[in-house]
Symmetry: C2
Subunit: 276 residues, 2 copies
Amino acid sequence: MFNLYWADESGFPAGDRGAAYGDGLFETIRMCGNRGVLLSRHLARMGRDAGRLGIPIAHTDLRKACTAAVSRYADRFCNKDGESGWVLKLTLTRGEGGRGYQPGSGMRPNLMVSASPMPVAPATFGVAADVSRVPLTVNPLLAGIKSLNRLEQVMAAREITGELYEMIMSDSAGNLVEGTRTNLLLKGPGGWVTPPAKSLAVAGILRQWVLEKLRAKGEVVEERAVSMADVLGAHCQGLYLLNSVIGVVPVRSFAGQDLPADDGLATIFNPLELLE
Amino acid sequence: MFNLYWADESGFPAGDRGAAYGDGLFETIRMCGNRGVLLSRHLARMGRDAGRLGIPIAHTDLRKACTAAVSRYADRFCNKDGESGWVLKLTLTRGEGGRGYQPGSGMRPNLMVSASPMPVAPATFGVAADVSRVPLTVNPLLAGIKSLNRLEQVMAAREITGELYEMIMSDSAGNLVEGTRTNLLLKGPGGWVTPPAKSLAVAGILRQWVLEKLRAKGEVVEERAVSMADVLGAHCQGLYLLNSVIGVVPVRSFAGQDLPADDGLATIFNPLELLE
């Protein structure tokens, strides 16, 4: 059981714990008409991570909300060529009530559904990124959860200016962990490298899909810390940003230094083949 | 310039960045009729920390919102004895707009004002507290800010059951840092000890006031890490929880062990002397 809110009708009620404490989580899903890219994985992640937070939501309820969202929104984004790419956002909170931080018993979650146009696509030949001055801190208990506590990402995203497409955030040891809205994948002489899931603020749907795809093709993928030297050193064969709405984005310039970049990896992710 | 919302009329609009990312901060202020306990300090902290987040708000605007809140709410909480303790909550967000995490330019902040009854007072002879299983992670850039990113505190507060009044959260080194809604103050043979401000998720208004008061009385106050051994060892002369709405609360039992507790420190904080 949950309360459904449509973002084009109203916001959450004043007592909602999402707005008060960031007590909830969200998914943004790339849609094409009435189907979603890797939709099952998005809904499975939301259900699993809601469970980690102690927010009760049934997978079937999330499915129903998506179906209702498609009925409501899909036609609005259909252009004259019949294409209808759009972004579905689900925001799930613990609901209203409790005493301060302490939740009440038997609270009913609130689910907000919104739709927006696809973001502008990045240049296929690659983008520029830099290192954020905002350090990333990841609570082991909350690692990977796309929760509503995203102030660090907001502060880092404020540094995106000019030609920059993304800021990469580092941990206290100086390792590069992730972008504000993207996970990292590095290509080196020994194969692919990406920071391990337990170190991530948000463990992306596309990151997991790409790792599985690469391994299925027999490629070596190592999950370990990524240093500045790994990216800027002579061995780097490419740095990629991963986001399930945007796709795979090669980085052609990082911290002011040119990187080898091609869109080879981008071709393995064809969103039109992953619609459900 | 800001948009004012009354919590008894509506919530934030659907596009508000507070609900989306916890992109904002809040204050809870103990009120007595039309005056607030340490009101100036609360408003100064909100203004200063809003500045750290890049949210523009004028001190005079916060003052005006308080004045309007008093007109609207103070009488509602006046009981038959003419007492009128209540809690004023100000929630300030960056407002609506931007592209994902990235804020737009010239955004107008949203300020939500709400009022609630005083919480039930803890026993004056002391409360029971325990160590939370939820580790506390503090981003140096956001340290001390009472931001809307409070999921760690929510998760720790879920552990408060039975006779427990508070859970104390530890950093990765195992030092005790703060409670879900309280700062810590320890009395030892050499004087008072409290974790330093830069280590805190929330640097409380009452904590700062008490430190100044103790130093003004010539007492020794040291800001350093507090270990389990500091609290449970034979040298501990008392552990206190500080919260500007609740006051100074002695801990009589910590992690199942009795502590020396008296309400001596509580007597130096008389909220009725600090009304503005």
